[in-house]
């Protein structure tokens, strides 16, 4: 298994004692597409970031096991992590424009990422960056390569981040809401690219998304998180037949084009979902 997480907890200090943001999450990922869906604030991004040791300094992490390709992340040194991050494992962050370097052009950032594990010239890296931008459906790669993050649209920033993370051919890609700012046509192309990396190169993909239909169609498996815990794990294609009342409630909240509703159904949260006594 590329990724093993067993009984992961993440806590933050608060005036009323430590508050647990992630409470005993366990999951594994092989060469497949794992979707993570769930409540806003349920710990999806924190779980993903813990794999790359990218949590805020005040976070307290415990786990029976937290491993990438057999490497114990909790014990790994910063130096070891640097040889993993952005090379063997990439993280496409939820706030792409904020995560990009504001004083470097998009092209420079992608080229730098490309050169991380290849011995190539600057010119070759620039060519590769232009090619990657075209692959993520940027219409005018040359202009966008020379643009700074603040000159990009929301979806362009997202695609620059995707290109950067795909550049080093990672073994694991964690994509946190990677297509939330993309129109459906561009989204379809990006998903095709990711599919290709998984099926042809055996990459592992963790896709965090609020888009239930997308996860259901694209992923192999899906875990559903609520209040810091995994409440359900399913075959992605079977998402519509979920059993947990939270997952069922989520599906009921979806607006659709085919069935207009005057008012959207909302969720009544059952306190029992907090501790899993459902």
């Amino acid at each position: 298994m590329k990724v093993e997480i067993a009984n992961l907890s993440i806590a933050f200090p608060s005036p009323r004692g430590p508050s647990l943001a992630v409470r005993g999450v366990s999951l594994t990922v092989g060469s497949e597409k794992l979707g993570i869906v769930g409540e806003s604030g349920s710990g999806k991004s924190l779980t993903a970031r813990s794999l790359l040791k990218l949590l805020p300094p005040e976070a307290r992490v415990r786990a029976d096991r937290l491993a990438f390709d057999g490497i114990d992340i909790l014990q790994a040194t910063e130096r070891q992590m640097r040889s993993i991050r952005g090379k063997r494992a990439g993280l496409i962050m939820q706030d792409p424009k904020f995560s990009l370097n504001p004083v470097m052009t998009a092209g420079e950032q992608i080229a730098e990422s490309w050169r991380l594990h290849r011995k190539t010239s600057k010119r070759e890296a620039r060519e590769a960056a232009l090619d990657l931008l075209a692959q993520v459906q940027i219409r005018d790669p040359a202009r966008v390569a020379d643009a700074y993050p603040h000159e990009l649209s929301g979806g362009m920033g997202q695609r620059v981040m995707i290109a950067m993370m795909m550049a080093p051919d990672p073994e694991l890609l964690i994509a946190d809401e990677p297509t939330s700012a993309l129109d459906a046509t561009v989204q379809a192309e990006i998903l095709r690219l990711m599919e290709d990396l998984v099926s042809r190169r055996g990459m592992s993909l963790i896709l965090i998304s609020h888009d239930l239909p997308l996860v259901s169609h694209f992923c192999d498996r899906v875990v559903v998180m609520y209040a810091g815990r995994v409440v359900e794990e399913l075959n992605a294609a079977g998402l519509a037949r979920a059993e947990h009342p939270y997952t069922r409630g989520l599906l009921a909240c979806l607006p659709t084009l085919s069935h207009p509703q005057a008012r959207l159904t909302t969720l009544t949260r059952d306190p029992a979902w907090m501790d899993g006594s459902n």
Binding site: S40, S153, D183, H210, P255
Partner: protein, 251 residues
């Protein structure tokens, strides 16, 4: 275009950044108390149109009218009392060293509106945020929590017009449903006017009876939500967006 009966009129708006023409002659009009949707290709100029309306970009040509009055390049304080914007990128619009409490109090102070102590807890409640986030900093929140702070901040001064740029893209669908219902309720109670940009056609069709589709800096089609639902589209870009989104709706 006749501006008298429309609250917002955008007429032949052109916006350039250096050699790039991001918006090439966009026109539309929105009646008071209604919601106007904008969808379309990533990079087609949607945010740029909203930002120009909000007065955040002074480099434009064409005309923009609010309530029949031409908007000056530099907006007045009174304008910001009437029009508020929720940005696509909530991280960028919240000051990293300001607590949520300060972020929410700031627009009230700027407009000389009192009662922050009652308004802030109510605003958090409206967007389903726990009171505990009030004294946290933006980086201590999840992505969807930050997006909700941005919505609460735009609503707190009770504006007449809300410009919403992907307001629910970082929200789980249960919170999205709550926010969309809240927007509908506010529209009914206070006759608010919305312009909403989103990539999610189902979300736009839910809130907005009329929708403009953009590609390459232009509005390529304007159609009703009903026509979009029924597949009565005229431009291939609209048809493609619709096909991909209905495809996903099939289980």
């Amino acid at each position: 275009m006749d501006g008298r009966f429309q609250l917002i009129v955008v007429d032949n708006l052109v916006i350039r950044f250096g050699r790039v023409e991001a918006v090439s002659g966009v026109s539309f009009a929105v009646a008071r108390g209604t919601a106007w949707g904008i969808v379309g290709e990533s990079g087609s100029g949607k945010s740029t149109v909203l930002r120009a309306l909000a007065g955040l970009n002074e480099n434009w040509s064409g005309r923009m009218l609010l309530d029949g009055e031409e908007l000056p390049r530099r907006r007045t304080r009174a304008f910001f009392r009437r029009v508020q914007m929720v940005f696509q990128d909530p991280y960028g619009s919240l000051h990293p060293r300001q607590t949520i409490d300060r972020a929410l109090a700031e627009p009230l102070v700027a407009q000389g509106i009192g009662g922050a102590d009652a308004a802030i807890p109510r605003a958090l409640d409206e967007v389903a945020l726990p009171q505990a986030v009030r004294f946290r900093y933006p980086h201590q929140l999840s992505g969807g929590q930050r997006q909700r702070v941005a919505i609460a901040r735009a609503l707190i001064t009770s504006p007449e017009v809300l410009l919403l740029d992907e307001p629910t893209s970082a929200l789980d669908v249960s919170v999205q449903a709550e926010v969309l219902n809240l927007l509908s309720d506010l529209q009914r109670e206070r006759n608010l006017t919305y312009i909403m940009v989103s990539h999610n056609l189902a979300v736009v069709a839910h809130l907005c009876p009329m929708i403009a589709v953009m590609q390459g800096g232009r509005v390529v089609e304007t159609l009703s939500a009903e026509a979009l639902r029924a597949g009565r589209t005229t431009h291939p870009h609209t048809a493609e967006l619709r096909a991909l989104s209905t495809e996903l709706e099939e289980p």
